[in-house]
């Protein structure tokens, strides 16, 4: 009952914040001679008019769920893995390398499974390395994970120029992977692949790990109070590495769904923002793995809407970032306002009770 009211409150405020964020961003459009009301109409009709575009929302949502889970998982352990972008790239590299190497030699399903495993392992090990540096050398994980993304990005460029380059050796990308190693499409009339199901499953899996297993419990304890963890026979170092491994693995998994499910090759500059979007999404969902799904869906919708806006009107592409930025800003602010009001309400209730 009380819980329900809270969720209702939360939804109300969040929707309000989103609307406000959109209004503010659209208010800038007349500066470029774009009619905001018309463009809003166009954006909505274009986004929700056909199945294909709505499918795109799910396609956009898929990796966002995963990168934001990656952040959320470590966040719960009071650790900051903001290198999900890099781990995602490692996942991409592993998935595409595995697939390209094996697609002609093994049946498609087997290749898919191996690519799946490789991306998880690759992303996980990258995460583990950060966790290890933190555990062993007490290196600041925020800084290290932030920098790791840049490093991975350049390594990826190097690989795309050398070992992984397409056979014609012309451009910084890999060859197209074979049809047999694509994740099957699940909704006819769209390009939505099994990836979205994998992402949803991952969200549930992470939720289960965090709240229903002793491993997740230990991760949370370590995050909240390392000393208490040590006094309880829990090794904070081990937990730190475990958390980073799982986090990296989830981000790496996004590489698999993107390569085998969506893009079918790897090229430079691929999905270069999902890491930072993931952070925003995780926080909008209060790092709750299930909430992450909905927040990611919101981001996916805004991205597709923004793209439609850019395609169908004279609004520039930068309007997407403006929109996402404002929406995030206002949602975060709404958290504060909601809390303020809640406290005031509580005080007020008490006051009346006191006087009664």
């Amino acid at each position: 009952m009380k819980q329900n009211g809270k969720i209702k409150d939360f939804l109300l405020w969040t929707v309000l914040a989103i609307v406000l964020g959109l209004i503010v961003s659209f208010a800038f459009l007349p500066l470029l001679g774009v009619d905001p009301v018309d463009s809003l109409k166009i954006m909505l009709t274009e986004t929700f008019s056909d199945k294909f575009t709505m499918g795109n929302i799910l396609i956009k949502t898929t990796p966002l769920i995963l990168t934001s889970l990656a952040f959320a998982f470590t966040y719960k352990a009071n650790l900051y893995n903001i290198g999900a972008q890099g781990q995602f790239y490692v996942g991409c590299i592993c998935a595409v390398a595995t697939t390209l190497a094996l697609q002609t030699k093994l049946p498609g399903v087997v290749v898919l499974l191996l690519a799946f495993a490789a991306s998880i392992l690759g992303g996980g090990l990258t995460g583990l390395l950060i966790g290890f540096l933190k555990a062993k050398f007490n290196a600041n994980e925020f800084l290290v994970s932030m920098m790791s993304t840049y490093v991975v990005q350049y390594v990826m460029q190097l690989l795309l120029r050398t070992a992984l380059q397409e056979p014609k050796h012309e451009y910084l990308k890999t060859a197209y992977i074979d049809n047999s190693a694509w994740l099957p499409k699940i909704i006819p009339g769209t390009s939505v692949s099994l990836g979205i199901v994998i992402a949803l499953a991952a969200a549930i899996f992470i939720w289960f790990i965090l709240y229903h297993t002793s491993l997740g419990y230990r991760v949370r304890v370590t995050g909240l109070n390392q000393d208490a963890a040590r006094m309880s026979g829990i090794s904070p170092k081990k937990m730190c590495m475990t958390a980073f491994f799982i986090s990296g693995a989830i981000a790496g998994l996004a590489g698999f769904t993107e390569i085998n499910g969506m893009q079918h090759m790897l090229l430079t500059g691929f999905e270069s923002d999902i890491g930072s979007y993931g952070i925003g999404i995780a926080i909008m969902a209060s790092a709750n793995p299930i909430g992450v799904i909905f927040a990611a869906l919101l981001f996916g919708t805004l991205q597709v809407g923004g793209t439609a806006l850019g395609h169908s009107t004279d609004a520039p592409a930068s309007v997407i970032d403006v929109m996402l930025g404002f929406v995030m800003l206002f949602v975060l602010m709404s958290f504060f306002v909601r809390r303020k009001l809640e406290i005031r309400k509580l005080k007020h209730q008490k006051l009346q009770k006191g006087e009664a």
């Binding site: 909240l224 208490a228 309880s232 026979g233 829990i234 406290i343 008490k350």
Partner: protein
């Protein structure tokens, strides 16, 4: 009576979830010590924080020197000559003594050397031995407390609020503090003294204000009351008297814990534990007395597996456990309430139920195949809440939202249950109110009577005498001797705690 310097009139303070002060009125006169007494969470700290400008009253008035004042911040309070020593140290560990004292009270360029001289002079004036240039993190808690006081004096405060200043001090340090308070008020200043210790109240105060549940439930003159009456006022009923430790014949009992030659010595420094030998039998409480920071915590942690000894052996039920980890020792049935429960014993942001699981995450109690059985755990927690009378709405609230006393109860409840064979209590009642102390003592005796071995570390001699079968005294990492309860007088134990070996001295 002299004129009133402070009048708090009908102060009410509401936090989001609690009514902390409910129509509280207190008057403090010039040259007076007002003791503020009350159980944990009664609202003592809150009312004083309002006076000091840290919190703002929901309603009510503050009158200083007969004029109504609004105190919006500690700065304004200081300007009025009010200073407060917080319950939890408000010092910056990474700064020096001088930096801490002048914090907020200096302007522009700071000549640190000159300030250090100034502070040293001030310390000398009050007879405090405080190194002005030393970092706070390198000082003992007693010295830190003195720094807190100096900070207040530096401002020329005439009204000093002290929130549980003695909670972490040794008996000698407490005496010094009492002398200081008496001196200080004799110069026409006033003091508000918050404490849980009756003895101090009777020793130093002029007026005693007792609070319960945010309300004032009595204001009395010291001369007109006694400890028993105060206790009754505070908790609303009389305390149960505990059965004193019996002279059980330990020889007949099985030896549970044997510690041989236990030493911890880091390279190039004095040993923190120096060749410790001791034995604990089943159904025995071994009290460990001593001034704090004499190796008690290291001993507890070594026994619990959190510190690795450099030398020596630990045997539990005849098995050598020296090399085993904390996890193993939990499995073997050791329980441990660390003295700093907030840091080592609980996770404040987690629920009560989750905190009950803390030490058992590797055990099978509520976990099977790595999956937590929440239902069973919650049922267990609800039972514990009832059994230990923990003041909490249910098992889903966070431990951090409980008052200190109730937090301690949660930890005690868990550890008593975890420790199937041996429970180590380190300062189990520090900062607790009388009712809670009484309850914890009952629990400890209960554990002993059920056959468990108990190690009780305390700086409170009364606690040691009230509970222990045998008493070991620690000084600088050494055991000065182990005595049967009753063999030691207060004088003798005092000497032992200070490092003197009275018997040997006589021989010499």
């Amino acid at each position: 009576m002299s004129e009133a310097v402070i009048e708090l009139k009908h102060i009410t303070k509401r936090f989001a979830k609690v009514l902390a002060n409910d129509d509280v009125s207190i008057t403090v006169h010039k040259g007076e010590v007002v003791a503020l007494l009350g159980e944990n969470g009664a609202g003592k700290s809150t009312i004083m924080k309002i006076l000091y400008g840290l919190y703002h009253a929901t309603s009510g008035e503050i009158w200083i020197d007969g004029k109504e004042r609004k105190i919006a911040s500690p700065k304004e309070a200081m300007a009025l000559g009010i200073s407060m020593i917080q319950q939890h140290f408000s010092l910056v560990p990474a700064h020096t003594v001088t930096e801490n004292i002048i914090l907020g009270n200096c302007k522009g360029r700071v000549d640190i050397k000159a300030k250090e001289k100034e502070i040293e002079a001030l310390a000398k004036q009050y007879g405090f031995d405080v190194p002005a240039g030393e970092y706070i993190k390198n000082l003992s808690v007693g010295t830190q407390q003195k720094v807190e006081i100096l900070k207040a004096l530096y401002l020329n405060a005439r009204i000093l609020i002290m929130d549980e200043p003695t909670a972490v001090l040794t008996p000698q340090e407490i005496d010094t503090l009492m002398t200081f308070v008496k001196n200080y008020v004799s110069k026409g200043n006033s003091v508000v003294f918050i404490t849980h210790k009756m003895k101090e109240v009777m020793q130093v105060s002029d007026t005693i204000v007792v609070m319960r549940n945010g309300k004032i439930c009595g204001t009395v003159k010291r001369e007109d009351t006694n400890e028993k009456e105060l206790a009754h006022m505070m908790i609303g009923h009389d305390l149960e008297t505990l059965q004193a430790p019996g002279g059980d014949d330990l020889e007949k009992k099985k030896k549970r814990l044997i510690v041989e030659d236990l030493t911890i010595q880091k390279k190039d420094s004095a040993p923190v534990l120096d060749h410790i030998n001791l034995t604990v039998h089943e159904g025995e409480i071994l009290g460990i007395a001593g001034v704090s920071d004499n190796g008690q915590q290291e001993l507890c942690e070594a026994l619990y597996g959190a510190e690795t000894p450099t030398q020596g052996k630990i045997l539990l039920d005849g098995r050598d456990i020296t090399a085993t980890s904390v996890k193993d020792r939990i499995t073997m049935g050791m329980g441990y309430t660390a003295s700093d429960r907030y840091r080592y014993g609980m996770v404040a942001e987690m629920s009560l139920a989750e905190n009950m699981l803390l030490k058992a995450s590797y055990l099978k109690n509520w976990v099977s195949h790595g999956i937590i059985n929440w239902k069973k755990l919650r049922q267990y927690t609800e039972r514990q809440i009832k059994e230990y009378k923990i003041k909490a709405p249910d098992c889903n609230v966070t431990v951090g939202s409980l008052s200190g006393g109730n937090q301690q109860k949660v930890v005690v409840a868990r550890e008593a249950d975890m420790g199937k064979s041996l429970v180590i209590f380190d300062q189990p009642t520090r900062g607790l109110d009388l009712g809670a102390i009484n309850y914890v003592h009952k629990t400890i005796l209960g554990e002993k009577n059920s056959g468990k071995s108990v190690i009780l570390v305390s700086t409170e001699l009364s606690e040691i005498f009230a509970l222990s079968d045998r008493i070991a005294v620690m000084y600088k990492g050494r055991i000065m001797g182990i005595y049967k309860n009753g063999e030691l007088t207060t004088e003798k134990i005092g000497l032992l705690m200070a490092g003197y070996q009275p018997d040997k001295e006589e021989e010499a």
